[in-house]
């Protein structure tokens, strides 16, 4: 079906061409998992005329196709892949170029350099430690060893430390101190003191400590980055699957263009089953549209020429041609976007756990080091010995464990949630999620399945209408056919878009559809309904409802068990909302809210000191999602909602919400345990360094040991649920 539609489209706008006419096209292929898929897809695409190269990345699911000349249309490539049974989606060329992972490469390079440095510097410092066990090196050999160590460690540490130095500098310029400030000062001071000691033929130099510290920290940094990148790209792929392609009709020719390129006045075709890409007005065609994702309303709306249609509305039955009245970034969406921006700004003011710890830690440790130097000098140690002790304080307290404490736990927690189908967009989101005390749900598509189900219909009446229902593609008719099960199909069926279906059952002509189509005076009851009747016989009314998700009641009970209060804020009418609330045992709900009222309701809760988790899926929730303390969206949500949400859950089960809160709380508890351990360790190590009990061997042991304890605490099993 979709393959046939694709053939007719010109998708040239998605190809990046160079001067010679050679082009590059990127597709997201879903469903390819094994070597056989890979071989099949590449072989078939490569066999197309005009294709010079095709390479499928099995890890990311991206198929890169090089087109030799204009002979091969991109639509043919898509069709070839879809004929094989895989789903192919187009990438916006701009996004495909932006997807390259520069930060990951830089971190991996730094990690490789630090690993090389840490390994090789040990060759020179381990013989130096031997002196501590009575196997004395001669002073000349010791100095030689230290010079060698300096030669390897200094360039490595300066190169591998760049990510930390940059972040520390950026933070200092804003007048704040994050965790990278003590790390950078610690590394640089360690290098300086070690150089001066080596020059003065001293006994203690700490070149190995500087580079090993960076190596351990970079492991945490790199893992953290990988996890976030994979969650981000998974969330991004979900958005791509919602096809940002608009079909422009120009002089009778259909052409696929990126939604961002739609101009006001363009005529756009919307096939049944697709969403309106921008705001507009219907030119021709009759259909029904589903506004559930935009307003939260479950009742279907009939549209015809002249009717307004909002971006994101799902076209159900007939093909529509509309005139765009706004670009994708303008008009009705703009107000919501502004609200979302305001929400994002208030969030960026959130201070993360590690930075809170750094704010306490930096002044204390640096004051202790300064005090060691001054007191040591005052009691007659001499400036050199006093400075060495001050440096030892900085080295043993260097926040290796502190720097790993939070990222290690968050990596473990995010990986755990990732396996359960919950994508975490950032570590800060996890910290905010652990603090929530009130959960606000949207109704349609979140608490409910977002699919209509037949209610209170006697089986014999359903069986009567089922033959016609089976012949229709309309979602309501399909819900009815599902309810009736397998059986006869009516003959001579004719479906009228936006009206209903007519056919012959047992020799009698019958109609199923809207009230007027079946021959009943339409009454606006604001309920989702379908009428059925044989010609000249009594008409039967079927009512549909959006049922709650199977585990919604259980998930809400779990949330209450976690000590949270739950509320519904919906854009739907009071009737359906109160019904769902009663079914789920929720006493607090509000209905008929506009997107702006939803955002205001969140602000009001915030003003009362509540930390709100918003769970929503529609465009009408996007502003509320951005304003809430933390937010989640299901994988089927509109892209604006997914962009605004901190976490996206991809499965059907609503239990993802209590599970995510449970894991976030465990993560917070473990991060605090790690902080407590680090603080206890520093309370022992810092005084020992002040009185001069620390030598390079003890420093290396203490630093690696404390990092290991923190890592193991993050990785140990026993997470809640």
């Amino acid at each position: 079906m979709s393959a046939n539609l694709v053939v007719a489209r010109d998708l040239e706008a998605f190809v990046r061409r160079d001067e010679g006419g050679a082009g590059r096209l990127e597709l997201l292929v879903t469903g390819a998992r094994c070597a056989a898929c890979l071989g099949k897809i590449e072989r078939v695409v490569l066999a197309l005329p005009g294709v010079t190269a095709a390479r499928l990345n099995l890890t990311t699911g991206k198929l890169a196709v090089t087109l030799g000349d204009a002979a091969c249309a991109p639509a043919q490539v898509m069709q070839a892949v879809e004929t094989l049974g895989y789903r192919a989606s187009l990438f916006d060329p701009g996004q495909a170029a932006a997807a390259q992972d520069r930060e990951g490469r830089e971190l991996a390079t730094a990690l490789g350099v630090a690993g090389f440095g840490a390994g090789n510097v040990m060759m020179f410092t381990v013989p130096a430690w031997a002196g501590l066990f009575g196997q004395e090196l001669t002073p000349a050999t010791l100095t030689l060893m230290y010079w060698m160590a300096a030669l390897v460690a200094t360039p490595c540490a300066l190169f591998a430390g760049r990510p930390f130095f940059r972040s520390a500098w950026a933070s200092l310029r804003r007048g704040k101190a994050n965790m990278d400030v003590p790390i950078s000062i610690g590394v640089l001071l360690t290098l300086v003191v070690s150089f001066s000691e080596t020059l003065l033929h001293g006994r203690h130099a700490y070149f190995d400590a500087a580079v090993t510290l960076l190596f351990l920290l970079l492991i945490g940094r790199y893992l953290d980055h990988r996890l976030r990148a994979s969650a981000r790209s998974a969330a991004h792929d979900l958005l791509v699957l919602q096809a940002p392609v608009a079909i422009r009709v120009h002089n009778g020719v259909e052409q696929g263009i990126p939604v961002a390129q739609v101009r006001v006045g363009d005529h756009l075709a919307i096939a049944p089953g697709q969403r309106a890409p921008v705001d507009g007005q219907v030119d021709s065609g009759v259909s029904e549209i589903d506004n559930a994702l935009i307003t939260g309303e479950t009742a279907l709306v009939a549209v015809g020429p002249g009717a307004p249609i909002h971006a994101g509305a799902l076209n159900l039955t007939g093909r529509l041609v509309m005139t765009a009245t706004a670009r994708s970034e303008d008009s009705t969406l703009a107000a919501i976007a502004r609200l979302m921006e305001a929400g994002a700004q208030s969030r960026s003011a959130y201070v993360r756990l590690a930075d809170k710890a750094a704010a306490l830690y930096v002044p204390v440790v640096h004051a202790a080091a300064a005090l060691t130097f001054l007191v040591g000098w005052a009691v007659g140690l001499g400036p050199r010995e006093a400075l060495l002790r001050a440096a030892a304080v900085l080295i043993v307290t260097c926040p290796c464990a502190l720097g790993l404490a939070v990222p290690a736990v968050q990596i473990a927690a995010s990986a755990r949630l990732f396996r359960k189908g919950v994508l975490v967009k950032s570590g800060a989101a996890l910290e905010r999620l652990a603090e929530v005390d009130h959960v606000v749900f949207d109704k349609t598509g979140v608490l409910t399945e977002g699919l209509p189900r037949l209610v209170d219909a006697p089986a014999h009446l359903v069986a009567l209408a089922a033959p016609l229902a089976r012949a229709s593609r309309h979602p309501l008719a399909r819900a009815m056919a599902r309810e009736a099960g397998v059986g006869l199909v009516a003959q001579d069926c004719v479906e009228t878009a936006g009206q209903g279906v007519e056919g012959v059952i047992d020799g009698r002509r019958a109609r199923l559809g809207r009230a007027a189509f079946v021959g009943v005076d339409p009454v606006d009851r604001r309920e989702t309904e379908l009428w059925f009747g044989f010609e000249g016989d009594t008409k039967i009314r079927f009512v549909f409802e959006d049922k709650p998700r199977v585990d919604a009641a259980l998930a809400i009970a779990d949330l209450r068990a976690l000590g949270l209060t739950v509320e519904i804020l919906s854009g739907d009418l009071p009737g359906p909302v109160s019904k769902i609330a009663a079914e789920l045992g929720l006493s607090s709900w509000r209905a008929g809210l506009t997107p702006f009222e939803k955002a205001d309701a969140i602000d009001a809760l915030k003003a009362r000191g509540r930390k709100v988790l918003m769970v929503g899926d529609g465009l009408n929730d996007a502003a509320a999602l951005a304003r809430a303390h933390a937010s989640m969206a299901p994988g089927a949500a509109v892209d604006a909602a997914q962009n605004a949400a901190d976490l996206v859950f991809t499965g059907e089960a609503l239990s993802a919400v209590p599970v995510a809160i449970g894991v976030a709380r465990s993560a917070r508890a473990r991060a605090l345990q790690n902080f407590t351990f680090s603080a206890a360790y520093n309370l022992v190590a810092a005084p020992a360094a002040m009185v001069g009990l620390i030598n390079p061997f003890i420093a290396a042991l203490a630093m690696s040991g404390s990092s290991m304890v923190v890592l193991l605490n993050a990785l140990r099993p026993g997470w809640r649920r």
């Binding site: 070597a35 590449e42 390479r55 099995l58 890890t59 090789n120």
Partner: protein, 54 residues
């Protein structure tokens, strides 16, 4: 002791070779698609080396 002066540069050189090899594998995009490379090794006609880095 003189042997150290010979062995130390040797070992640093070997370590440096390892580092250079790692940097080369990364620049040539050998970590871009671990799953696909594991599959490609099974077919002769797919075993065409690393993708052109871009």
């Amino acid at each position: 002791m003189n042997i150290v002066l010979f062995l130390v540069p040797c070992s640093v050189l070997l370590g440096g070779l390892g580092l250079a090899a790692f940097l080369w594998t990364m620049r040539s995009g050998q970590y871009e698609d671990p799953k696909g490379d594991a599959a490609r090794v099974l077919y002769d006609h797919l075993d065409d080396g690393p993708p052109p880095g871009d």
